[in-house]
Subunit: 261 residues, 3 copies
């Protein structure tokens, strides 16, 4: 399919993304490159992993997903390439791919080492351009992943904070804030529904109480907070026409509690 | 032509634009997707409508223009699809398409309802991804718009503040500020020229008086304000090598007066 | 190859980049347009020239490189088109192309004047859309550059601050700060290595002293400054997991000294 998706912390104020794409196009002029996000906060591997996890499944089969947030670039950390049932994934071995790889059956993992496919010279600080871009370009052209290094069996995994479940209380926390100020928790729609079933509940966050689940942002009064199962299937706190992040003073790690009444 | 243009308030810090494009590419791998703007201020339907109005005509015939700024997503607001003489337009029925549709002869308007073309399940909060993206992808492949719902005759229109015209005074206001700090008014080049004709005039804004129309930003002294008919054919106030927005303390809604002398 | 690269100061908050691309696609539907950077600070010709210089060589042969940071748009400044051994370059004649053109053997320079290839009417303030976009689109389709105007021999050159070299001291300055807060100097890897050879040295910047060259950001202790030859082959000052820009209070023009011990 020639599709390559990109998630990085390279931003838009430099030329990092542009030259990475140039390298890809030079090797595969037919590549279709889709920017998923380049505004990951510098070195925030967890956010990149969450974004990748939420995004990869929307892409056509065969897409090569490249994720580069790489605080240890130039050190001994591995660079890995993973073939799954439906996709290819590439990135530093720091957990960035690990959330997505929980969902996708893994076929093979390669420790990328074969310098024949890298740019020459390889810089100390920009493996996105010098190693990952060419490797992904070759994969998008159909090269078998075995060419790039040896098979390995293990890779780094991130551990996210767990949802705590008691008989009448579920406690999660805010994992991600979007540009609208919506607060996304680590409680999935499934976890939420299996816990509340048809019982009455309320939701508490930062001293505020929300008594029901809404089905659109407009269902709460103007500038009032509401709870909703968001578009990536997590319990979210939002504010109608406003920012829950600002309104509640809540952020990463803020606890969110569901109480059965 | 397979071209799809995008205007949204989704920003670049999340994965919203990326997954919307993924959905399009999965349906039409030949789609060429052009970002017009994703940095519309959250929920600012008017700015999105202005940007669309200023942009659509530069695109190739047959382009599908998708504009999604949708504060009422998930409520009962309609989603519409409009075929015009030269283009297709898609967006929530909240006025976002209405300025462009003043200029383009309308052929047919469809109320988008046919779930067969939507992603499953449709989320409550991201119809851009779940409804608009697939529908636009199918249109870019040549699907007739009648397939997506029933024809309707009316749609929401925005009303912009009018230009007030007296015999010797024209009063407009600032509608849009660009990244250079240029202040764009609602006075078009035609309105301006038909009013001033060959008469002497001055332009007043925020207590400053400008005595002529310039033809380049360099025609005013360094850091001095000037008036110019901008590249989208509106009367603009700019500052040579500076920001008129900062220099004049002027913004949205600031009045601008043209006086015949 | 149909590849067009873009560097501008148009930003992402308006529709400037989008309509420029629309104009290109209307003329050459096969064009592949790569954004190198649109977040150049308004009117910062030097930064655009540096980014172009660092980027162009990664692109496929035949790429048309368009760079538009154009504070004098609408004045008498020329617009030039340059064919080199491997590429085409287009931009205002204000030095923006000049750093790249030091590296690339020039074949021919054209003063762009032939209105037949421009949009009609040409605006006073957006030659990127009205002149450069169509001209670059035609070139990407294979039009000979002689069609667009007359050959000229001279163009504007930027002069960058020189590196001062004494027997035991090399003095450069910071030229570019990237989004990670890394400080890039005007001292290239070659200049640095030829000067230090195998002699002992230290590096001084803003009262701090660094005693060696690192080969990865992780080689310095957490939040400590380090020196490294960066990915575009300049001596850079960075901070492990932090921003050297913030940590050192250093910015454009800050002096950096290499002392032989």
């Amino acid at each position: 399919m020639d599709v390559i998706s990109l998630i990085t912390d390279f931003g838009y104020s430099d030329n990092f993304v542009g030259v990475l794409k140039a390298v890809i196009l030079k090797i595969n002029p037919r590549a279709k490159i889709i920017d998923v996000c380049h505004e990951v906060k510098p070195q925030d591997v967890i956010r990149a992993a969450l974004l990748l996890n939420d995004s990869f499944g929307y892409f056509p089969r065969g897409t090569v997903h490249l994720a580069v947030v790489d605080p240890a670039v130039g050190s001994e950390r591995k660079m890995i390439l993973v073939k799954t049932k439906n996709y290819f994934f590439a990135g530093p071995d720091n957990g960035i791919l690990s959330l997505a790889l929980k969902k996708e059956p893994i076929v093979k993992i390669i420790d990328v080492t074969d310098k024949r496919y890298f740019l020459t010279p390889v810089s100390d600080t920009f493996h996105g351009r010098d190693i990952f871009a060419p490797v992904c370009a070759y994969i998008s052209k159909g090269y078998k992943i075995d060419r790039f290094g040896k098979e390995i069996k293990l890779f780094q995994r991130l551990s996210l904070p767990p949802v705590e479940k008691k008989s009448k209380v579920l406690v999660g926390e805010i994992m991600l804030i979007d540009r609208f100020g919506n607060l996304r928790s680590n409680i999935t729609g499934d976890i939420f529904n299996n816990f509340t079933k048809s019982r009455k509940f309320n939701i508490q966050i930062k001293g505020k109480t929300i008594n029901k689940l809404s089905h659109s942002y407009c269902q709460a009064p103007y500038l009032k907070p509401l709870a909703i199962i968001g578009s990536f299937d997590y319990l979210e706190i939002a504010v109608n026409k406003g920012s829950a992040h600002n309104f509640l003073g809540a952020g990463y790690g803020t606890k969110i509690k569901i109480n059965i009444l």
